[in-house]
């Protein structure tokens, strides 16, 4: 198979992925055979109406959820037989998450939130805080390091979350509606930053239902009723032009 050579260069290779959820006695077939390849350095938007399966797909890629069948290879590493422990290690080492609702721990300061994945990597406290401060600096929140999430604006919270996602230096950045809870201006701010990360070589996968946000990516994958109906490259709109 010619594809096997590609797989090694591929960041992500998914074939015939299926997922159903049990709802009472019946089951809901959410993903009906997804095939998807993403190469290193890509910035992909996954689009679709609600119920199309886009979030489920992202969760499976993020190892927050498990597929019923199909293969999933991440950077040459087959992701199967996931135990909780193994999934935890993979998530920690390979993946960075950005959520719509930020998901910061509310009683921890910005820098402690950023340092948390490093805690689970087993780094020493001093090293953790050093790295966390560096990444907070990268998102421009150096001065807010000791503040609690409730003292930050929405955009600032999302920046802290991005810093946290970057802290463990993941192979793949997964963003679930990263601008969903933000106003337009802040959204463009955050998108400009994410584009900058992509420019620096990070592979990014993003779920969104906003066309303008999707157009800021390099490729759009459209899902409908659990299958991919369209997969097209796009001319990237730079968010910085709005800022």
């Amino acid at each position: 198979m010619g594809a096997s050579i590609n797989q090694i260069k591929n960041m992500l290779h998914i074939t015939s992925l299926h997922k159903s959820y049990a709802i009472g006695d019946s089951s809901l077939h959410v993903l009906k055979g997804i095939d998807l390849s993403v190469e290193t350095g890509e910035m992909v938007a996954i689009m679709g109406s609600s119920g199309s399966g886009k979030s489920t797909l992202l969760n499976i890629i993020g190892m927050l959820d498990e597929a019923d069948s199909g293969t999933y290879i991440l950077d040459g590493l087959p992701i199967d037989d996931l135990t909780e422990k193994k999934a935890a290690v993979y998530r920690n080492k390979f993946l960075g998450f950005i959520f719509q609702s930020f998901n910061l721990i509310n009683y921890k300061s910005a820098i402690e939130n950023v340092a948390l994945p490093l805690y689970y990597q087993g780094l020493k406290r001093k090293k953790r805080l050093e790295l966390a401060r560096f990444h907070l600096g990268k998102v421009g929140l150096d001065a807010w390091a000791e503040h609690l999430p409730k003292e930050l604006s929405g955009g600032q919270k999302q920046r802290v979350a991005i810093a946290r996602a970057l802290a463990a230096n993941p192979k793949l950045l997964l963003a679930d509606e990263p601008t969903g809870a933000l106003d337009t201006k802040t959204s463009h701010d955050i998108m400009a930053f994410i584009q900058q990360l992509n420019d620096e070589g990070k592979t990014i996968l993003m779920v969104t239902h906003e066309e303008d946000i999707a157009n800021m990516c390099k490729r759009i994958v459209r899902l409908k009723d659990g299958v991919i109906i369209e997969d097209t490259p796009v001319d990237q709109v730079r968010a910085s032009q709005y800022v």
């Binding site: 935890a88 290690v89 998450f97 721990i105």
Partner: protein
């Protein structure tokens, strides 16, 4: 393994969620407080009981005699039965294997005088083993011994209060006191937990008394300390056996209740013991009930805490927390809160017992308190309870799928 980072995480969690920590702590502290106070009060009640029955040996059978009330074997009613030395020897020989201590007692009242001081006191002429049956505690000198019995020495062991009355600023040991006209050498001074009347008593050898006061071999009373290994039932049967044999020996009708009287401490002790055991069981049930209520309370709080922290757990898992680390962070927090709060409840309970002790004494609760071993045991139990109360919800929390936990708002 001491993991500083884990502790830092836990202390931060406790410190930043103070209301939650305080609430769960309060429940366990209150349970332990009640537990301690109940146990202390129970101990106090038991102390009162023990003290009430601690004066004399508990394995005691006393034999008295009186007049017959029924005609028997051609003998008239109203005959006076008197114990003699030969009866003492008979009991000694017949029941030797079942007897730990044995003494006769001859009672007299004597006018005791030393120099210018003089007073009347009850005198008990006894065998050496009387000391163990009456739980006489020697302050100084010695008790009556076998030598005194054989040689009919005129020696006296006097009560603490007798010594106080007669020997003002004088050393009683070695002095001679006059007991109703006969000089006795004081060889010992004793005290007795039985109270003042027991300490206003004079002991002399039984043989000496029999010779001096009437030159008879009559005995007023025989006291037997039966083998303490005997069960209450066996001891009661033993007492009845003695009664039967003596009635036969003195030709007393079997149903004559007055001629030969045998008082068996085993009967009273059995009742008291049954009562104390009953009391202990009630206290234990109530105490552990309280503790269990506390544990259940903590479990509920832990379930609530896990629910409240579900989202946090989801975040932690998404960031790479292993199930083990989730369990340990919740479990150690639970154990820590239970241990600290429980210990505080314990201290508070002990404090309350200390403060309330004088008041409680009026209600027959003496020296309420808990032993060190109970304190250690309760603390251990607490830590265990905290661990159990925390483990189940912690384990459940560690199994929540991160995606479900993250959806929880």
């Amino acid at each position: 393994m001491f993991d500083l980072d884990l502790w830092r995480e836990i202390f931060q969690s406790i410190n930043k969620n103070r209301v939650r920590s305080l609430l769960s702590g309060f429940t366990i502290a209150f349970a332990i407080l009640l537990f301690t106070v109940l146990f202390g009060v129970a101990n106090g009640l038991q102390n009162t009981f023990n003290e009430a029955f601690a004066d004399d040996a508990t394995n005691l059978i006393s034999i008295y005699t009186g007049r017959t009330t029924k005609a028997h074997k051609g003998l008239q009613a109203g005959r006076r039965i008197r114990l003699r030395n030969q009866d003492f020897d008979y009991i000694d020989n017949t029941f030797n294997s079942k007897i730990e201590h044995l003494t006769a007692r001859v009672n007299r009242r004597v006018q005791a005088s030393y120099k210018t001081e003089s007073n009347t006191y009850p005198l008990r002429a006894v065998h050496p083993e009387h000391q163990f049956l009456e739980k006489t505690i020697l302050i100084k000198g010695r008790y009556i011994n076998q030598n005194d019995l054989k040689a009919l020495t005129k020696v006296a062991v006097i009560g603490r209060l007798v010594a106080e009355d007669l020997f003002i600023n004088t050393e009683p040991l070695g002095a001679y006191i006059n007991l109703s006209g006969v000089p006795y050498k004081v060889v010992g001074v004793f005290k007795d937990d039985g109270g003042d009347s027991e300490e206003r008593m004079i002991y002399t050898p039984v043989s000496t008394a029999q010779r001096i006061y009437g030159n008879t071999d009559y005995i007023n009373q025989i006291k037997i300390g039966y083998d303490p290994k005997m069960s209450y039932e066996a001891a009661i049967a033993f007492g009845n056996q003695i009664k039967r044999k003596l009635k036969k020996r003195f030709d007393v009708a079997p149903n004559d209740q007055r001629a030969i009287r045998v008082r068996n401490r085993a009967e009273a002790t059995r009742n008291v013991n049954a009562m104390t055991v009953g009391l202990s069981i009630i206290i234990l049930v109530v105490g552990f009930g309280t503790l269990i209520a506390g544990v259940v309370g903590v479990s509920n709080i832990m379930i609530f805490i896990v629910k409240e922290r579900t989202k946090e757990i989801g975040i932690r898992k998404a960031l790479g927390a292993s199930p083990k680390s989730i369990v340990s962070i919740i479990l150690v927090e639970a154990v820590l809160i239970t241990a600290i709060a429980g210990y505080m409840g314990l201290l508070l309970g002990i404090g309350i017992l200390k403060v309330a002790a004088p008041v409680l004494e009026d209600y027959f609760i003496k020296d309420p308190g808990v032993s060190n071993s109970l304190v250690v045991g309760a603390t251990m139990l607490l830590i265990l309870a905290g661990a159990i109360a925390g483990y189940v919800p912690a384990k459940r929390a560690s199994k929540i799928k991160p995606i479900i936990a993250l959806r929880n708002d």
